[in-house]
Structures are given as structure tokens and as C-alpha cells.
């Protein structure tokens, strides 16, 4: 517990931690302000194709809709904000030399690694929760409540407002799970390098590569796609399907948990056995 407190204190004393929180808050306020100012025009634009087929009534641009739009926008930036901190957890200590002090205190390397991982996970959860709570709260305060209209490639789905809070809750939990994979991956890379920039760049490079493989409709990639964590990270969007596919959600959760276990084990094993030479 003392080690976790030690790690959390360090994380929350670094300016880079607040870059993530700051950028989330700025983006939330910008989007909400922009939608408040010209939300109707934005809605007209995205609903252009359905205008002739449906009659849309009620408070369409409500707090839930705004929060849903923010989630879609920010979920792309979140891995970077996570890697910014978790990629620095071990390599940052190696580059500054503090790893030597840390490892010569009476704590096992396994305990140190675990405490860093837990602290990274808590940080990850905190940025998702801040994103979720602030966007929902501000959205509801500024735009009120109403049913959520979700645009799909094959039509529109309307989720009733009383059905939305738990769906948002489930989405945040799933986002935390998906970003935990990113956090564990960047921490694993962090054990192999002695500077804090490489884990961030490598993590983002892997996510971009996997996303490209996942979205390109090439038969060769069909075999790999189900095993990529990026394929499963975006399953949160399925929380806003009228009928939830629980089997798909469970399968994706298991794939993500397996990724976390593998990345954790590789990182832990390397950290436990690595010689501290710098």
C-alpha cells in the first residue's frame, strides 16, 4: 500500500499528468460550447440523409447526445493521454536515475512493478471517469435530457433516456478496460527502454498500425483482426445498440483481459531480471 501511495504521489506531482486532465477539460468545454452555439446546424448536417424519410421531434441535441459525440471524439486521443503517463512509469525512472534508489530499498521488484501498474490503472480510470462525468454533467446542464439518437451505417436507433445512464456506465467501464491494455502495453515497453518518449511513440505506433489492419478490408487481415486489441477496444460503441450483444461484449472483454495479462507478464519478467546499467 505504501508503494502504491508512493507511486500515486509521484504521478500526481508531475506536470504531464495534468496535461491529460487539462486537455480533456478543454476539449469537453470547446465541444459543448460549439454545440451550444451552432448545434442545430451540426445536427442538420449529420441528419441530412434522413430528413426526407423521418420527422424528428423533441430535444434531439440533448446532454446524452452531446456526451456521446464527445466520447466518439475523445476516445481516439485517450490512448495518447494514457501512454503519456504510463509509458513514463519505469523508463522515466531509468532516465532520471531514480530507479537505482527505488530498487535498493527493501521492496521486491515484483511489488514495485505491481504498484506502478496499479497506479497507472488508477490514473487511466481517473481520466475516463473525468471525461465521462464532466461531459455528461455539463451536457445535461447545458442541453437538458432526452432520448439518444444513434446513427448507424444502416439507419438510426433511438435509445430511451431512462435506458441511458447504465449504458453510459457500462461504456465507461469498457473504456477503462480497453485503455488498461494501452496502459499495460506502454508500461511493458517502458521496461525495455531508458527514455520516456520511446514508450509513448511505440505505443501509439502499435495502436495506429493495429487500427489500420483492423479497418482495412483486406482478406489477408481477416485472420489477424479478431486477435488485435484495437478491434475490441471500440466495442464500447455497441453499448448503444438497441439489443445488446452480450456474447460479443464478453468475448471482447476476455480478449482485452488476455492482452493485459500477457503485456503485464512480459513487462514484469523483463523488469524483474533486467540489469540496471545506466
Amino acid at each position: 500500500m505504501k508503494l502504491i501511495t508512493f507511486e500515486l504521489y509521484k504521478i500526481f506531482s508531475k506536470p504531464r499528468t495534468y496535461i491529460a486532465y487539462g486537455s480533456i477539460l478543454i476539449i469537453i468545454f470547446l465541444i459543448e460550447f460549439a454545440l451550444k452555439a451552432s448545434g442545430e446546424e451540426y445536427l442538420d448536417f449529420i441528419l441530412n440523409t434522413f430528413k426526407d424519410s423521418f420527422v424528428l421531434e423533441g430535444n434531439i441535441l440533448n446532454g446524452y447526445m452531446v456526451s456521446f459525440i464527445i466520447l466518439q471524439t475523445l476516445i481516439i486521443q485517450m490512448p495518447l493521454l494514457v501512454a503519456l503517463v504510463t509509458g513514463d512509469l519505469i523508463s522515466g525512472e531509468a532516465s532520471s536515475g531514480t530507479i537505482k534508489i527505488l530498487l535498493t530499498k527493501p521492496n521486491s521488484r515484483s511489488a514495485i512493478f505491481f504498484s506502478k501498474w496499479i497506479s497507472g490503472e488508477l490514473y487511466t480510470a481517473s481520466i475516463v471517469m473525468i471525461l465521462g462525468i464532466i461531459s455528461l454533467l455539463c451536457g445535461v446542464l447545458l442541453f437538458g435530457i432526452g432520448d439518444l439518437m444513434v446513427l448507424k451505417s444502416d439507419g438510426v436507433e433511438i435509445i430511451q433516456s431512462q435506458d441511458l445512464i447504465w449504458r453510459f456506465g457500462l461504456t465507461f467501464c469498457f473504456a477503462i478496460l480497453g485503455l488498461s491494455v494501452v496502459a499495460t502495453l506502454s508500461m511493458m515497453i517502458s521496461t525495455y527502454v531508458d527514455n520516456s518518449i520511446s514508450p509513448i511513440i511505440l505505443t501509439m505506433a502499435i495502436i495506429i498500425l493495429f487500427t489500420i489492419i483492423g479497418t482495412m478490408d483486406v482478406p489477408l487481415f481477416d485472420f489477424i483482426r479478431p486477435y488485435l486489441f484495437t478491434t475490441h477496444m471500440i466495442i464500447w460503441k455497441n453499448m448503444f445498440d438497441q439489443q445488446l450483444d452480450f456474447l460479443l461484449i464478453w468475448k471482447s472483454s476476455i480478449v482485452l483481459i488476455i492482452h493485459i495479462i500477457v503485456f503485464y507478464w512480459v513487462g514484469w519478467y523483463h523488469f524483474k531480471h533486467k540489469d540496471i546499467l545506466n
Binding site: 509521484k10 506531482s13 532520471s96 536515475g97 537505482k100 534508489i101 527493501p106 540489469d275 540496471i276
Partner: protein, 302 residues
């Protein structure tokens, strides 16, 4: 006879084909300052890092305070404080917060209450609330020592601790080391490439080169076994040089003013007599036991 605080037996460390340590066995006596000497790349840092568990030896045994390092790191590290190469801290935190955090994970009940005492001891009183990034190298070095001491360890390991310090800082550091031995009864293992520094403070020295032990023992015993370095200032350098070479059969270096040579300390009275008999006027005679000379002899004659 002192009991050993640190005992290393048959230590090997290889990186691929490169052998950084080769069958190294050393003893660090309790309550003394032990100087670890060796040229760059001799394996000093590797040895210290092996002792501190930062590097895993290929084979060999390390016993600290009568416990094997393998399987007892937790117990052992409660009794060790160290600075490896340079004192590294969380520069975005204050000096005191650094010490508080490190005390928190040092598993020592008195560590937190020792913080102010250690800050006072190293002379950082009044600066403890400043961020470490504003500290000079010398101040960081002092903070490093405070960090070593907060959990009141029995052994202090310092790897090249005076690197980057100014002469005043080196003198202060040296005084602090001696105080830690004399007042606080600490065992100190100190590596340095500044030989005179080791000579000033160490009771015991270990010399290694190319990963192998060259010599170890009490510093006075090691130095007594060697010849003295004699510096002579006389009225007739060339005649004096010839007399010394003829009488003692040794190599003598000279310039226009001085003569320098090695001589066993028991022959110094005879040297003076001989020169007086030959009516050589002696203006100055210096004799010193040099660790530098010993060190160079040992490391170059292997």
C-alpha cells in the same frame, strides 16, 4: 581482525563474451571505510551494483551482514544506504518530500522521524522545502547522503560520490564520511578514481583491474610494503645522481634541480650519510608513501 560487513566470493559477471568480473572475492570490514580502486572499466561499478542487487551476477556469492543476498534482499536492504554514481532524485519535488517518500518505502520505523536530523547533519537546513531541481550538484550530493542515512543503515555504499564536486565540496564530503565512521560507526564502501581521496579517508583498500582482484588489505600495511618516493634538492644534481646509482644500484630520475627515486624506507638514513660523506649539500629531502605509486605499480605490473 575485523568481521566482514560484506563478503563476496568467486563473483563472475559476463555480458556475452565480455567478462566484467572474474572470480572476484573481497571482504569489506565492519565499521571501517573501505576504498575500492581501479582504472576506468575495471569493474568497480559492476561490483557495487552486484552488491546492491541492481545487476545479477553470472555466478558467485554475496553475503552482507552474514546473510546471503539471494533470498534476503528485503532484510539486507533495510541496512544499506547508497549513492550510485550520482545522487538522483525526483527533481520536481522538494528535498524534504523526496526524503519523506523514500522513508515511506524504506520499511524503517524511525526513518520519518530521522529526516530533519539527517537534513541538519548534511547541512541542508533551510533548503529542505526547495525543489531539488534548484539544487547544485554539491547540494544534491548532500541530499544523497541524507537519503542514505534516514533509515539508519549499517552499511553505506558510495560509487564515485565526489564526481563533479568542487574542491571545497570534496573536502566537506570527506569530513562527512569520516564523521559517519567515527561518530555513527557506519561501514562505508567507497569507490573513487581520485586516489588521494581514498588515501585520506580509507582504512582498507581493494584494488581491482579488468574485473579481477589485484590487492586488498589495510592501507598502511599495503603502503608499508612498498618503497618510499624520495625527492631531493641538492647543490650538484649530476654528481649526486651518480653517487646514488652507484651506492644503491637504483634508477634515478632528475632534472636541473631535483632528483627523484624509489628507496626502501630503511635505507633513508644510509642515503643521508652517504651524501654527507660525499659532501653533497642537501637543501631538501621529501619522502612519501604514495597510494598513487602503489596503485600504478600494481595495476601496470599485471
Amino acid at each position: 581482525m575485523h568481521t566482514s560487513a560484506i563478503s563476496v566470493k568467486n563473483l563472475y559477471k559476463s555480458y556475452g563474451h565480455f567478462e566484467a568480473l572474474h572470480d572476484l572475492s573481497i571482504e569489506v570490514p565492519k565499521g571501517k571505510i573501505t576504498g575500492l580502486l581501479g582504472p576506468n572499466g575495471a569493474g568497480k561499478s559492476t561490483l557495487m551494483r552486484c552488491i546492491l542487487g541492481l545487476i545479477k551476477p553470472t555466478t558467485g556469492y554475496i553475503n552482507i551482514l552474514n546473510q546471503s543476498l539471494v533470498g534476503n534482499k528485503h532484510n539486507i536492504f533495510k541496512d544499506i544506504g547508497c549513492i550510485i554514481e550520482k545522487p538522483d532524485f525526483y527533481t520536481y519535488l522538494t528535498a524534504k518530500k523526496n526524503l519523506e517518500l523514500l522513508a515511506m518505502i524504506s520499511k524503517s520505523d524511525q526513518a520519518i522521524s530521522n529526516i530533519q536530523k539527517c537534513i541538519d547533519l548534511v547541512g541542508l537546513t533551510g533548503r529542505e522545502k526547495d525543489k531539488v531541481k534548484t539544487f547544485s550538484h554539491g547540494m544534491k550530493q548532500r541530499l544523497g547522503i541524507a537519503q542514505c542515512l534516514i533509515h539508519d543503515p549499517e552499511i553505506i555504499i558510495l560509487d564515485e560520490p565526489t564526481t563533479g564536486l568542487d574542491p571545497e565540496g570534496i573536502i566537506e564530503f570527506r569530513q562527512l564520511i569520516i564523521r559517519l565512521r567515527d561518530e555513527f560507526k557506519k561501514t562505508i564502501l567507497l569507490s573513487s578514481h581520485i586516489l588521494s581521496e581514498i588515501e585520506f579517508v580509507a582504512d582498507h583498500i581493494i584494488i581491482i583491474n579488468k574485473g579481477k582482484l589485484i590487492s586488498q588489505g589495510n592501507i598502511m600495511q599495503l603502503l608499508n610494503e612498498e618503497d618510499m618516493i624520495i625527492h631531493l634538492e641538492v647543490d650538484d644534481v649530476s654528481r649526486c645522481k651518480a653517487i646514488i646509482q652507484e651506492t644503491f644500484g637504483i634508477n634515478v630520475k632528475s632534472d636541473d634541480l631535483f632528483i627523484q627515486f624509489k628507496l626502501n624506507k630503511n635505507n633513508i638514513p644510509s642515503l643521508v650519510n652517504t651524501l654527507v660523506q660525499h659532501q653533497i649539500k642537501i637543501f631538501r629531502l621529501d619522502s612519501k608513501r604514495g597510494l598513487e605509486e602503489l596503485y600504478l605499480n600494481i595495476t601496470t605490473n599485471i
